[in-house]
Symmetry: C2
Subunit: 372 residues, 2 copies
C-alpha cells in the first residue's frame, strides 16, 4: 500500500521527512464488521510480511510464524484478522534502501534516510488506519518486534487493546550493542560494500553480510542448545585434517557457514545496517520518559514473555517492563518460559505450544473485555 | 634458543616434522643449585614471553602479568626461577608463520605447518630440558595457557611437581568453537589476506584481524562488566547523530574499535589463525584418554581456578577437571573466584590479589613437599 505520498511525507525521528512509502503487508482471517478483531504482528530483524500460510500448493515454505498463526492456532485466524507488514527500511517489499528512489529511478542506497523503531511504527500505524482500524485487539512481536510493540503502546496508547511482548527489552544492553557493532563492521569493511552503493555492481558485500549473520546467529542460540546440537562433532569424517584451510572441520562451523550463505540470498546489506542501528537506538525511556509513566498511558492489557536461556534479551530486561507496568497499576501477565533454546525460542516450532497456551486465553479475555 | 635443528626435527601432532625452531623466552629470578625452584608460565592466545618486569627505565609498559609475577608477588621471583616462552606458531619471537623459512629466507606464510597445543608444549619441554631442568616446581597458565598446563600434565607427568590451571577447559565447547570460527572467517575473507601470503604486500589483512579481535574481545568480558563500564553511554556528545556512517556512536563501539586497532599493530593474522585453530583442536580426553586416567599419571598437585562470570570457559568445565582429579585420588585445590570480570579476570590487575592468596601458599606447600 502506498502511503506518505507527497505532500504528506513521513516525519522521521531524525527530523527529516521521507516519502512515498510503499508498505508490503499480508492479512489472514476476516475483519469483523465492528473492526474489533484485528491483530498486528511486528516481525523481528530479518522477518517479513509473510507471517503464516503458503502462497499456493507449489509453495514449499510457509510463513515464518506458521506454527503460531493460522486457523485454530495460537493466533487463531478463524477468529481474528491478522495483519503483518514488512518494516520501513527492510528489503522484503516495504520501501527500503534497495527500492528505487522515485526522483531518479535508481536504488536509494546510501541516500536512504536513517530510521528508528518509532519510524517503523509510524508507518504501520498509518497502514492500520488506512485499513479502517482505529483500535487493534493486539499488537504482538518478539525481539525487535517486541520493541515495536512497546513503541506502539507508548506512542499510540489508545489504539491498542493489548500488547504481547516476547523475548524483548526496552533497550539493548552493552553486550548486545557490541555484537551489533561487530556485525555492521563486517559489512562496512567488505570492499564490495562500496559505502552502500553496491546495487549497480555485480559483486555484493556477501562475505561481510554472511559474517554479520553468523555472529548474530551465535547470539540467538543458547550455549546449551548449540552444545547439544553440535558439540565438537566433526563435519567430514572421524579424523581431524590438520589443515588450516579446512574451515568446516567442526559441524558447528559448517552450520554457521550455511546460515551465512542462506541469509545473503534473501537479505540486503544496507537494510541490515539500518535495522540493527534502529535496534541499537531504541530506548523506550530515553524517548518517552520513565516506563511506568509512558506505558501507563495505555489501558491495554500486557503479556510479557521471556525465555530462560535467552542471553541476548535476558529475562531481567523483560522483568523491568513488568515491574514498570505493575507500578503503573496496569494489567500485566508475565511468564518466563523454560527453554533450552536461546533468544530464537519464540520462533522455534517446538516452543510454540507453550506460547500458544499463554496467548490464546490472553487474546480471548481481551476480546471478551472489549466486547463488553 | 635454537632447538630442533636438523637432523633432530620436531615431530608434530599432524605427523609432519618441522625445524629449526627458535624459542623466544625470558627468565626472572635465580635457578637454585638443586634446580628445583623453576616455574614455567604458559601464556594465553595473544601473550608473549615478556611475562613481567620492564626492559629498562625507558620501558613504559611492563610484562603482561606484572601484577602477579615479581619480587614478593604471587609468583615470587625472590624465591622461584620463572620461565616464560612464546609459543610455537606465535609472532612474538618464537618461530611462526612470519619467521623466515631458512630454505629461502622468505616468511613461511602458508608454508608454516599446522600446530597443536601438544606441539607448543613439546617445544617448551625441550627448552626446559636445555635449561637443565628435569622437573618443574609448577606449570602455570590461564585460558590457552591452562590448556598447555593440562597437556604438560598428561604428556610429561613426571616432569612437573604442580599444575595451576586458570580459567581454562579440557576442550572448547561448541559456542567457543563458533566464536573462533567467525573470527577466522573475518580474516580469511579479507582480500588483503591473500591466502596467507600477505607478507610481501604493503596491505595487511588489518580489517579482518581487527574484527576477529573485536569479536573475541566481547567474549572475554562479562555482560555485567561491559554494562557497568559502558552501558549505553554515547561517545561523542549527549545527542544521537542519526547518521549510519557514525560507527562509534556508543562508547562500547569506540572501545571495540580501539581494541581492534591496537591488536593489529602487535599481532600477525596467520599466527591468529594457527593459534585459535590449535585451541579448537585441543581435546585432552580425545588425545590422552579419560581425564581421570591421563591426569592420574602425574603425582603433581593441582590448583584449578575458574571465574564466576567467565562464559567462554565456564566454571562447569573447570569442575570437570577437578572431578577427574578427585576420581584419580590426586591432590587438587579448586576455587571459583567471584568476579564481575569475565574470562579476562585472570589477567586483570584488580583480580590479582585474590589469585595471589591462593597461589602463594600453594607454591610454598609444593616447594616444601618436594624439598622433604
Amino acid at each position: 500500500m502506498a502511503l506518505f505520498a507527497p505532500p504528506q511525507r513521513l516525519e522521521l525521528a531524525s527530523g527529516k521527512t521521507f516519502g512515498p512509502v510503499n508498505v508490503a503487508y499480508e492479512t489472514l482471517g476476516t475483519l469483523s464488521p465492528a473492526k474489533d478483531n484485528a491483530i498486528f504482528i511486528c516481525h523481528a530483524l530479518t522477518g517479513d510480511a509473510h507471517v503464516a500460510g503458503r502462497y499456493g500448493e507449489e509453495d514449499d515454505k510457509p510463513g515464518w510464524w506458521d506454527a503460531f498463526v493460522g486457523a485454530g492456532k495460537g493466533i487463531d485466524t478463524n477468529r481474528y484478522f491478522v495483519i503483518c507488514a514488512n518494516v520501513l527500511g527492510g528489503c522484503q517489499g516495504t520501501t527500503g534502501p534497495e527500492s528505487p528512489n522515485p526522483e531518479n529511478g535508481a536504488p536509494y542506497g546510501r541516500e536512504f534516510p536513517f530510521i528508528t523503531v518509532a519510524d517503523m511504527v509510524r508507518v504501520h500505524k498509518a497502514l492500520v488506519q488506512e485499513l479502517g482500524i482505529t483500535r487493534l485487539l493486539a499488537v504482538v512481536g518478539g525481539s525487535l518486534g517486541g520493541m515495536q510493540v512497546l513503541e506502539w503502546a507508548a506512542r499510540y496508547p489508545e489504539s491498542i487493546a493489548s500488547a504481547i511482548v516476547l523475548a524483548s527489552s526496552p533497550r539493548l544492553n552493552a553486550q548486545a550493542l557490541a555484537f551489533d557493532k561487530v556485525g555492521r563492521r563486517a559489512i562496512v569493511t567488505d570492499p564490495c560494500f562500496r559505502d552502500g552503493n553496491y546495487y549497480g555492481h555485480e559483486e555484493k558485500p556477501r562475505f561481510g553480510l554472511a559474517l554479520a549473520r553468523m555472529i548474530a546467529h551465535i547470539t540467538y542460540l543458547s550455549d546449551k542448545a548449540i552444545e547439544m546440537k553440535f558439540g565438537r562433532r566433526l563435519q567430514h569424517s572421524d579424523e581431524l585434517t590438520y589443515d588450516l584451510l579446512q574451515e568446516t572441520e567442526f559441524q558447528i562451523e559448517s552450520y554457521l557457514d550455511y546460515q551465512g550463505k542462506r541469509f545473503v540470498e534473501r537479505f540486503d546489506a544496507n537494510s541490515y545496517l539500518l535495522l540493527t542501528r534502529a535496534m541499537d537506538y531504541f530506548d523506550l525511556e530515553a524517548e518517552h520518559g520513565p516506563m511506568s509513566r509512558c506505558l501507563g498511558k495505555t489501558d491495554a492489557r500486557f503479556l510479557v514473555v521471556s525465555y530462560s536461556k535467552d542471553w541476548l534479551f535476558p529475562t531481567a530486561e523483560s522483568k523491568m517492563i513488568v515491574r514498570a507496568l505493575l507500578e503503573a497499576r496496569r494489567d500485566v501477565t508475565y511468564a518466563e518460559l523454560e527453554s533450552d533454546h536461546g533468544h530464537d525460542a519464540f520462533l522455534i516450532e517446538s516452543e510454540i505450544p507453550k506460547l500458544t497456551q499463554l496467548v490464546r486465553p490472553f487474546l480471548e479475555t481481551t476480546f471478551r473485555r472489549i466486547a463488553d
